[in-house]
């Protein structure tokens, strides 16, 4: 256990786990320090989203361990599994994962974000993502770029120790993509948790990430990867 994790930081997310499905097998082994941004690239179906799901707690590892510092999230040997709502992970999944029956405001203030109702921090987030005037609208009335900004605002507002972003700019046009990237860059500068960013965009990775790993589909069904280079 932990053979592939070369370096340890005081606060870090450590993943050393395997996921086995009928026709799919994933070996994930890497560590990310708090305050850094790890980009994950790789072909479709290589297991990028499954990796995020295991960190978020939406999937259990078939075997292995996931921990954040001394907190164990998932451990097949001790049969531990922490439910997603107790992990302190904020997410922006593909498509944004917005609640289509709730207004923009209620989406952003859902769950852990609700503690910032009518606070300066809420106002600042709305300002940062240029969401003034959209708060009472339903997601279905927004453009793709607006929806993505809502999803990011929600993930940035809610207190978290880990932030998972699954292709957050892939559905945006060039102009709103730059806008959203600037907002992410500003946020990452002060964020002291772990960020994992799934992206296919080299420009985005070089602008935002501090480390990169590339998932390859190796030996047919198995995907194995390791941390390419530490900081």
């Amino acid at each position: 256990m932990g053979k592939c994790i070369a370096q340890r930081w005081t606060v870090s997310l450590e993943i050393d786990c395997r996921l086995r499905r009928d026709k799919f097998s994933l070996d994930a082994c890497f560590a990310v320090a708090a305050g850094s941004v790890l980009a994950i690239t790789g072909t479709n179906g290589s297991g990028k989203t499954s990796t995020l799901d295991m960190i978020a707690g939406l999937l259990a590892c078939s075997e292995g361990k996931i921990s954040l510092s001394s907190k164990v999230f998932d451990d097949s040997t001790t049969n531990q599994f922490v439910q997603p709502e107790l992990r302190g992970v904020s997410t922006v999944f593909q498509g944004g994962g917005l609640f289509s029956h709730l207004t923009v405001e209620k989406n952003i203030l859902f769950g852990r974000g609700s503690m910032f109702r009518s606070t300066p921090r809420f106002d600042a987030t709305i300002e940062q993502f240029n969401l003034n005037g959209l708060l009472k609208r339903k997601p279905s009335t927004l453009s793709g770029g607006q929806r993505q900004r809502v999803a990011l605002a929600r993930a940035f507002l809610a207190p978290s120790e880990i932030l998972l972003l699954d292709e957050p700019t892939s559905s945006l046009d060039a102009i709103s993509r730059d806008e959203v990237r600037r907002a992410m860059k500003t946020f990452f500068e002060t964020y002291n948790g772990v960020v994992i960013l799934v992206s296919h965009d080299d420009a985005e990775i070089s602008a935002l990430a501090t480390a990169v790993i590339n998932i390859k589909l190796a030996s047919g069904m198995t995907t194995a990867y390791q941390l390419g280079h530490n900081l």
Binding site: Q83, P84, E85, Q94, G97, H101, F110, G111, R112
Partner: protein, 267 residues
């Protein structure tokens, strides 16, 4: 000759009989209803008793479908378990079964000498058959499948990634189910409830077999219409007309949402 893409010619003519057969009876009832005595007919003692009973039993059956059908529909949509396809098929069976056969089946299950009915009678002295409760059970048996089918489709349409997102932001499984999953399926839920209620209101065959036709106890509106027709009572038409109005109002109130709910399972 019209400019533009041609479509199969003559289809409207072939479709005409379908329209006539469905619409003509509605018009006929409207035509034969004695409108001057309409109000007094539907407020007569026997009609009022039947209307009251129908309202109570159909609402009770719909409520039962909501409470017991929602978890079942969710399980069918989201979980894999043994005999799932068999359970699903049995749940839908009452939709295609002749209702009177359903009533007989209910009698063999809950009747005084039935599978469970015998136990209920011997141990607790409870007799279900030919009571108001039997009328509710008969309506539930016939109408609940509509609720389950619509809701299974609706739950199946819910994006599990959105549900997962709610979990990561701090909502537990129950809170997520109530605020996110049920919130997302709300249009379908309302449509399913109205559809189920309308079907329960119109139930005849299973009720007459399992609950009987006792005025004031088990004689719901459809049974009252039947009895009044038998005895040549004109208020049968008035009650028929009333049922028709109620159903049309229910469908108009939904403004086609139930059609799209059936098609797409909501959202």
């Amino acid at each position: 000759m019209k400019r533009g893409l041609s479509t199969p010619g003559g289809l409207p003519i072939v479709a005409l009989p379908a329209i006539v057969i469905v619409i003509l009876p509605v018009v006929a009832v409207m035509w034969r209803t004695n409108w001057s005595s309409f109000f007094s007919s539907i407020t007569s003692d026997s009609s009022r008793t039947a209307l009251n009973l129908s309202l109570q039993t159909s609402l009770a059956a719909t409520f039962m479908a909501l409470i017991f059908g929602t978890p079942l529909a969710w399980l069918l949509a989201n979980r894999e378990f043994k005999f799932k396809s068999l359970i699903r098929a049995l749940c839908v069976l009452p939709m295609v079964l002749p209702p009177v056969v359903g009533g007989v089946a209910l009698l063999y299950a809950f009747g005084r000498r039935g599978l469970i009915g015998a136990v209920l009678d011997e141990w607790f002295g409870i007799q279900l058959a030919f009571t108001e409760t039997a009328a509710v059970l008969a309506q539930f048996f016939i109408a609940a499948p509509f609720f389950i089918v619509v809701m299974e489709a609706a739950f199946g349409q819910v994006d599990q990634r959105v549900v997962g997102t709610a979990r990561t932001f701090g909502a537990g499984p129950w809170r997520t189910f109530v605020t996110i999953t049920l919130g997302l399926v709300r249009p379908s839920l309302i449509a399913a409830l109205v559809l189920t209620w309308a079907r329960a209101l119109g139930e005849f065959g299973a009720t007459i077999a399992f609950a009987g036709n006792t005025p004031g106890r088990t004689q719901t509106v459809p049974l009252a219409v039947y009895s009044q027709l038998e005895s040549g009572d004109d208020s049968a038409l008035a009650l028929s007309m009333l049922m028709m109005i109620v159903c049309v109002v229910a469908l108009v109130a939904l403004r086609g949402t139930w059609v799209s709910a059936l098609r797409r399972g909501g959202q």
